[in-house]
Subunit: 206 residues, 4 copies
Amino acid sequence: MLDQAEEARTGHDRAGDKPDDRVKRPKRDREATRARLLEAARDLFSEHGYDHVSVRMIAADAGANVALVNRYFGSKAALFGEVLAGESTLEQAFTGSPADLPRRLAEHVVRVVHRAPASPIPRMLDRSIGNPEILPILQQHMERHLVTPLTAQLDGPDARARATLAATIIMGGGPVRRLLGLDDLRAADPDDLVRRLTTMFEAALS
Amino acid sequence: MLDQAEEARTGHDRAGDKPDDRVKRPKRDREATRARLLEAARDLFSEHGYDHVSVRMIAADAGANVALVNRYFGSKAALFGEVLAGESTLEQAFTGSPADLPRRLAEHVVRVVHRAPASPIPRMLDRSIGNPEILPILQQHMERHLVTPLTAQLDGPDARARATLAATIIMGGGPVRRLLGLDDLRAADPDDLVRRLTTMFEAALS
Amino acid sequence: MLDQAEEARTGHDRAGDKPDDRVKRPKRDREATRARLLEAARDLFSEHGYDHVSVRMIAADAGANVALVNRYFGSKAALFGEVLAGESTLEQAFTGSPADLPRRLAEHVVRVVHRAPASPIPRMLDRSIGNPEILPILQQHMERHLVTPLTAQLDGPDARARATLAATIIMGGGPVRRLLGLDDLRAADPDDLVRRLTTMFEAALS
Amino acid sequence: MLDQAEEARTGHDRAGDKPDDRVKRPKRDREATRARLLEAARDLFSEHGYDHVSVRMIAADAGANVALVNRYFGSKAALFGEVLAGESTLEQAFTGSPADLPRRLAEHVVRVVHRAPASPIPRMLDRSIGNPEILPILQQHMERHLVTPLTAQLDGPDARARATLAATIIMGGGPVRRLLGLDDLRAADPDDLVRRLTTMFEAALS
DNA sequence: GATGAATGAGGCTTCATTCAT
DNA sequence: AATGAATGAAGCCTCATTCAT
């Protein structure tokens, strides 16, 4: 479908395709194509950030036509928003007793350090910051999936400020991993890291 | 474009400047134009991030011709590197007794919160992450101005890992400010914030 | 733009063309636009040389958008390579008994002199030498379409050296025509020219 | 004089400077600078061709100011013309009895093959063909230094046509060397090459 | 008279999007 | 409905040349 010049530029070959074991769908393939686009977008955005992913890369990765991005989602930015929508960032860390929240957050951070790559959504966030076009989308997602649920678990005054402090640690992880690498953190004792981070989150939240 | 206080604080005179006490200044003032380009680049990069600043914007902001960017600095990326080079991020927070380091870092963070805009360099960092072209430049800056001096003040094992944890808080500030706004943090008691952050940095560093 | 005779002779249909006998032709005709770009590139490159033809000129000449040059061919250099690829320079002169080769080469040269303009490919070669970016492309073409087939017809030692001598005459024709004009050669007796050139090629090859 | 960015781009360091053993001149240095520019231009033009040499490269190589190129010579093209003017191409080959002319030309060609690099002027010619801006300059040089003196040594009809044939061999040498390399020619017996080329020139000229 | 900073044009390439089929 | 060819804008960079000093 792509000639040589275009193939060379995108550099994506459809290796890694999951076997499509779903039953054939009634409608042509619209839902399936849409889903493939969404998945390709999530993978690429989380890998390279919004700016450095082109709609052609997404379409090529999904094995779909380029124009379908605009047809199905309206624009590249809207596709980004759709990827973000509905996917929670820290779902499991938020589930459980509020007293254990700091430890769970700490374990989440250490888990990410030792089992790269992190889940796609946080990576999308820290790799796509700085683009004014999608800033509102990012803000809305952070509000919905991080600050609001976190604040809900907090009592006392300045709950949102304390949630912001915790978000600082969580958000800082991405850029730091990218800039400093993981070697030093991995070299340290994981239990020690968890203890330190738990204390940090406690100081932020309680 | 920068308010006076910040200009004074950053102390932005290019390293390697010849002592300016010679009698004759250059005629059409290459050095002045270069400095204007550098300053415009710093302001714009810190405001919009590397990707969303064009060399034309920089030249226009500096009142200079576009070609001068390449003539004086070689490339956009090299200009970015030059902006970063020589400017320390946390100089003053690193100066003083190691025992007080966590408190000084905490005060630095709170100070930034209450006196927007933050100094340009950290903003450049968190707004420009994700561009592979300048990643090495960013890494080198972080290593030189954050991890190395921080580690130098630490004793005991895993010093670099602990420095990385502290960097997580520091780096996380930028994206969080951008995504969540400063209102909540400003609404909280500054002294309380300092206490919390001090504890967080202590947990990270000691 | 090319006169009919030459168009027929060069036989310019792209290798790898799908058999065009299918019923439906492409709607907005990618293949046709591609062919127009290729033809415009061939004409302009052969007229002005690689350096002095811009992709904008090519696109304008083909009545196509500038971006299509890069979309279809990848780069200006790759387009140049594509123009060269598959077009033989001296096909017919190489066909026949080796004993007659010198005379056929001589007749080829004289034919070019008397029927300007020469075929586009040799002109591209001698007008585009000196650009390091496309030197490998040119070398490969010369090796494939001139030296190798010529050497294949020669016996005895130093076959490639002798082929190089003949290539000297053939390659020299282009620059000489450009610098000295064709008037003097055309004023001479064609049969005499053929005799002289035949002797020259014999001295080079046998 | 050049800062890092500019130095990096030109890539020329003034190594290879001939020691300036001339006595100090009365006038500031105008003549000397002019001469250095001329020499640098000749070297660079013959190495890379007109198009791929910038006036900044020439000025840097000569250790002179860029504007002096235009001040002294009017334009880049005029400087090219000045380099060409007055320098003969085949002076010595033309000197001697007309009967030996073919052999002398042949020896000249073989000498160039075995003792690269060739003299600068012919290389300038074959590397700079194709630039319409300097075509008239090249034509004039060829006329003056190649065709006219060559024709002057010939008797009989169509003298200029025969000179053109010889020029074909001479001009073809440059491009061929560039495209095919010298290995094959150097591998052959030099005396055999001289014999072949002598016959070729005889066929062209007599 | 000489310097070198500044200029404006033009180079190739890449992108998200629209529109004819 | 869906395709993919075509578009126009913008990106960075390089150049020969001019002009203020």
